[in-house]
């Protein structure tokens, strides 16, 4: 238990002697959590280099901390929070099993590392977020498969929200569960059809609100910090967004990038393209492996 709590709050591999000390203290305090945390948070270990920046952010942490570091005061509704976090493997309120998410390194694989960088991109450039057509009908699509789903969409477009597709040839060819169920029970309506109809009617009755994109101003942020040159801007953003510094050749390449975009080292806050350029720079910084660390 002590190890689990320690892992969640501090780091993956606890020091053996410290671990024993912690479990002893947990027992000694009759499993009171408060003195236990007091001990962890006041320990030298908690602030030592072995613990610093060694945890990997969960998808929710990743998105929320990005919002915070951007200084957002209002939670955006676009890109959709639930969509981007579940794309990264964390469907909130819906853990994969009773054990919950494995967390830590299990969040990361070659596909999710790209997706994490892409999520940062969509927050910085919401207009690039891939749009799913008929998002409210995706549940039905999962149930019916593409073939029947397309049939249903076609019928809905013709204004037909009642009938079940007649003539099963297409569905049988597609070998969908639906055809088999309806064949077996001889029914000529279907649950999937009803799920589909309900979703269409719900959206017609209550159209979705206009999306609220993240509101922030990187140019304003840098101007307020009194920065005028590219290297200072890079250092400021790295320090604000990353736990550990980016140095040497890697830092140089970031400086060269933004200087090339701006056509020089001087930041011209009145330039029409300054915000786009700074956001490109920030997207690169958020693409560094360091950004996954918390």
């Amino acid at each position: 238990m002590a190890r689990k709590l320690y892992r969640f709050f501090v780091r993956e591999d606890p020091d053996k002697t410290f671990e024993e000390k912690l479990s002893a203290s947990l027992r000694q305090h009759n499993y009171e959590i408060t003195p236990f945390f007091e001990e962890i948070f006041l320990s030298r270990d908690f602030y030592g280099p072995a613990s610093y920046a060694t945890q990997i952010k969960s998808p929710v942490q990743l998105v929320v901390s990005t919002y915070k570091k951007l200084g957002l005061t209002d939670a955006p509704t676009y890109p959709k929070f639930a969509a981007i976090t579940s794309g990264l493997g964390q469907e909130i309120f819906y853990p994969p099993n009773v054990k919950g998410w494995d967390g830590g390194k299990a969040w990361i694989n070659p596909a999710t590392i790209f997706q994490r960088q892409n999520v940062a991109r969509y927050i910085l450039f919401p207009e690039e977020t891939p749009v799913i057509k008929d998002a409210h009908l995706q549940g039905t699509r999962r149930l019916t498969g593409d073939f029947l789903f397309n049939q249903l969409v076609e019928m809905a477009e013709r204004g037909n929200l009642t009938d079940f597709p007649k003539g099963e040839t297409g569905m049988v060819a597609n070998r969908s569960t639906v055809s088999e169920t309806s064949r077996l029970s001889g029914e000529d309506f279907n649950l999937f059809r009803d799920v589909f109809n309900a979703a269409v009617r719900a959206v017609r009755a209550v159209p979705p609100e206009a999306p609220r994109e993240p509101q922030f101003d990187l140019g304003g942020m840098l101007r307020k910090a009194g920065l005028a040159e590219a290297p200072a801007a890079v250092d400021y953003l790295v320090q604000r967004f990353l736990r550990t510094p980016i140095t040497g050749e890697r830092r140089e390449s970031l400086v060269r990038f933004i200087e090339k975009q701006m056509g020089g080292a001087k930041i011209d806050f009145s330039s029409y393209s300054i915000e786009k350029n700074l956001r490109e720079l920030l997207h690169l910084i958020l693409s560094a492996p360091e950004y996954q660390l918390s």
């Binding site: 493997g89 099993n97 694989n109 070659p110 590392i113 969908s176 077996l184 890697r250």
Partner: protein, 384 residues
């Protein structure tokens, strides 16, 4: 470069690198820069492949949810089978007879074809001691192959670490949304993707050079950071190859519309592209059939049989049928007696299937006895 011919397709080698890897000639529509880098990656992959050829490839197919094995490989002559499956039991006519004692489910025509071709080996009653009927515990044991013990690496991962300690890129490919514990390795960094079109970093083309520098992060002493850097590099090195290989792949074979079909098609595309991958890992979900399982299993097993058959026909077409073995397992079987909802509940053991031209076809091991099984579920004569 000398004009070396590829013995397989009789194309000049340079041409082979261009067209063989992606199925389309790169010169035709792609930007010059891309064709250069992609050619050099291709050459690398090709060279790598050549060293080790003829390489054998293992494709692991996980039937997730607990496959009702007895309803796939059916002991149709067993009286107990009929007794315990009064409504779900298949009639003698509605199955593909494999031999005097066993038959395949009526939807497994595709598998029966492979069986007739002598490609299928079936190991009866595979499981592990003191079975745990929870999905994730059982699956975890199958993934680590160390039941009832803590283990953080998977069996595919440990196998790859031991067999290929130099850990070349792309040795393990896991087609999935979330990486399987089975492929977790110490040395290797498995390529993990589901939709190849989404396996790409979004960004302005202007960022390309800077990004490359950014993930070229020297060893930092922070173990987590080094891990993240390694994964970032794997992603960068593999994504373009994966996307091009899968997107450009043309095949006449009717794989079907299931998720397994889609995944096997991706595997065939990567094999065709000359990927140096030795183990592919895919998962086929939906086997947790507690209720009304007839319709669900009709769909699942049709997809399984037809998908496998198309896959092997496709491998034959591209000349790799002798190099590939498919291994199928499920975390547990289901109970022998059907439940009151026309389904079956969690059991213990089940058959394991291996499909390959190199396999000793037929039945192996001993089929579990159905006499005492009832409440206890199937016993497991063959230890997983």
């Amino acid at each position: 470069m000398a004009n070396i011919h590829c013995p397989k397709c009789n194309l000049p080698r340079r041409e082979f690198l261009r067209s063989g890897l992606y199925g389309v000639s790169i010169g035709t529509g792609l930007p010059l820069l891309f064709s250069h880098t992609s050619l050099s990656i291709a050459a690398q992959a090709f060279q790598r492949g050549r060293e080790e050829r003829p390489e054998r490839i293992l494709v692991v197919v996980e039937l997730a949810g607990g496959n009702d094995g007895m309803d796939a490989v059916i002991p149709w002559r067993d009286d107990n089978y009929r007794k315990l499956r009064p409504t779900l039991g298949a009639s003698e006519r509605a199955l593909h007879r494999a031999n005097e004692d066993y038959g395949f489910h009526s939807s497994l025509g595709g598998l029966k074809k492979l069986w007739d071709d002598g490609l299928v080996a079936i190991v009866h009653g595979c499981g592990y001691p003191n079975p745990d009927r929870s999905h994730f515990t059982s699956m975890e044991y199958w993934h680590t192959a160390t039941p009832h013990q803590p283990e953080t690496l998977g069996w595919v991962g440990r196998f790859a670490d031991a067999r290929w300690p130099d850990a070349k890129a792309n040795t393990i490919v896991n087609i999935t949304q979330k990486q399987s514990l089975a492929v977790q390795a110490r040395r290797h960094s498995p390529v993990v993707f589901n939709n190849p079109d989404e396996f790409v970093r979004a960004g302005d083309a202007l960022q390309a050079d800077t990004y490359k520098k950014l993930i070229n992060n020297p060893k930092s002493g922070n173990e987590t950071l080094d891990f993240l850097t390694a994964i970032s590099k794997t992603a960068s090195d593999s994504s373009r190859m994966v996307r091009e290989a899968v997107r450009g792949y043309q095949t006449p074979m009717p794989y079907g519309s299931t998720s397994l079909a889609a995944d096997l098609r991706k595997v065939a595309a990567l094999i065709h592209a000359g990927f140096p991958t030795r183990v592919y890992y895919v998962s086929y979900p939906g086997f947790d059939t507690h209720a009304s399982q007839v319709a669900g299993r009709f769909y699942l097993l049709t997809g399984l049989g037809e998908g496998l058959r198309a896959f092997f026909d496709d491998l034959k077409r591209i000349g790799r049928a002798n190099d590939v073995a498919v291994m199928m397992f499920s975390e547990f079987g289901r109970r022998v007696e059907e439940n009151a909802s026309a389904g079956t509940d969690h059991g213990t053991a089940g058959p394991m299937l291996v499909v390959s031209a190199k396999v000793k076809p037929g039945f192996h091991g001993q089929h579990p006895s159905l006499t005492s099984a009832g409440l206890a579920g199937i016993a497991f004569p063959a230890d997983g």
